[in-house]
């Protein structure tokens, strides 16, 4: 059994993460799941949330993902996400503004489609802020 698993988070634009990890925890649609080295082949849809992992030195890290797919193999976890951001890359200011905008839109949303989109934007902003805020706690 390998000691570490390779974690790769890929978006259409770039590799967001490509490093060794001791454990990876990802937000599956049917519940969060953790992957340790030697995991059985596993495929899951991801919902909006945070991927947490411990890197080779045991430092906990977090990556925001806006949904996508994760594939776990015994020595590798690949995450395909439409967008993903490492904690340090998150623009908290922007997320805050987006949050306020989404809240305002939700408050006076009339059409359904607006509601759905605003709701999604709200969730994204909240999740981003959540990821960003864990940094300060450390």
């Amino acid at each position: 059994m390998a000691e570490n698993i390779r974690l790769e988070v890929v978006t259409p634009e770039q590799f967001v993460v490509s490093e060794e990890a001791q454990i990876v925890v990802a937000p599956g649609v049917m519940g969060e799941f953790g992957v340790l080295p030697g995991h059985t082949p596993f495929l899951s849809e991801l919902k909006l949330g945070t991927i947490r992992y411990k890197d080779a030195q045991g430092v906990e890290r977090a990556v925001f993902v806006s949904g996508g797919f994760a594939e776990a193999l015994p020595d590798k976890v690949t995450v395909l996400a439409e967008s993903a951001e490492r904690r340090r890359d998150i623009d908290a200011e922007r997320a805050k503004i987006a949050l306020e905008r989404a809240q305002k839109r939700l408050a006076d949303a009339k059409e359904d489609i607006d509601y759905v989109r605003a709701r999604a934007a709200l969730e994204r902003a909240m999740q981003r802020l959540k990821v960003a805020s864990t940094k300060r706690a450390q």
Partner: protein, 294 residues
């Protein structure tokens, strides 16, 4: 004397043109680099995506999603034409448009009604000129900076229209970036999603296809299929952008060379003309001196 001046002016004009074409060549080169980097950035995602999709669709079967089912009667066809916004890139747009024309003719020959979605001004203008029906147009994307969301937004519309039965088949025409010197126009079927080719999964022999899936393979697949459309679309846009810059680079390189040739032959003409004026003047002077002596 008048002729001398004319030639001189012409030389200056060609030199200025050369400066412009040279600058455009360099701009295209730097944009091309950017595009290539993005294509490389996208490749891991696309490869992995195709891999997972391939293994899933083998297990889930055709009935998993309406996006997979071919329509029995193809009455309405939608063609997504990717061209550039700007010209001065050689035969790039002409080739794409020609491909679209031939393809549309073929489809029309089979009794289908053809409509268009345009990415890029050149294709749009072509459709407008012929009075073809344009469903949607996106300008300012190809060749510029765009991200995955544009592919998602336009892809969602395509899927929506397809599911509502507005179109029975959707194709995309784009330019594949083969090499710096070669860009080939291609037609690709977007919807219904064609079956994944088996050949790809054979290449990845060590790959373990039997995953535990969450939710079921069929559900996962139906989630992934629309994304496949976005991925294809994004890929088409990236390839077209890269091709555009490569084509422009080549065209501008040729133009610069042509300018050099022209400057060469004009300079020759100028020198000859100057020579003959000098000779004529000398003859005059000599003739005058002879006459005075006499």
């Amino acid at each position: 004397m008048a002729k001398l001046k004319e030639v001189k002016l012409k030389i200056t004009a060609v030199k200025k043109t050369k400066q412009i074409t040279k600058a455009m060549n360099m701009v295209a080169a730097s944009k091309l680099r950017g595009c290539q980097t993005r294509m490389e950035g996208f490749r891991p995602y696309a490869t992995k995506f195709a891999e997972v999709l391939g293994s899933l669709s083998e297990r889930a079967g055709e009935e998993a999603s309406p996006l997979l089912v071919p329509r029995e009667e193809v009455k309405k066809v939608l063609i997504v034409v990717c061209t550039s916004d700007r010209g001065l890139c050689g035969g790039f747009n002409t080739n794409l448009v020609e491909k679209a024309r031939v393809f549309a003719k073929e489809k029309a020959g089979q009794g289908a009604e053809v409509s268009y979605v345009n990415f890029g001004k050149k294709g749009r203008d072509w459709c407008r000129k012929r009075g073809l029906s344009i469903v949607n147009e996106y300008v300012g994307i190809v060749g510029a900076k765009f991200d995955f969301s544009i592919a998602m937004v336009s892809g969602q519309r395509l899927i929506g229209a397809f599911l509502e039965g507005e179109y029975d088949e959707v194709y995309v025409i784009y330019s594949k970036f083969v090499s710096m010197a070669r860009q080939t126009p291609l037609v690709k079927q977007l919807l219904p999603i064609p079956p994944v080719e088996k050949a790809e999964s054979v290449e990845d022999a060590p790959y373990l296809p039997e995953h535990i899936c969450e939710p079921s393979p069929a559900e996962l697949l139906s989630e992934m299929l629309p994304k496949n459309v976005y991925v294809q679309l994004y890929n088409a846009l990236l390839e077209t952008s890269t091709s555009e810059h490569a084509a422009r680079m080549a065209a501008m390189d040729n133009a610069t060379k042509a300018c050099n040739d022209m400057i060469g032959s004009l300079t020759l003409a100028y020198n000859k003309a100057r020579q003959s004026t000098i000779t004529a003047e000398l003859m005059d002077i000599v003739g005058g001196a002879e006459a005075l002596k006499g």
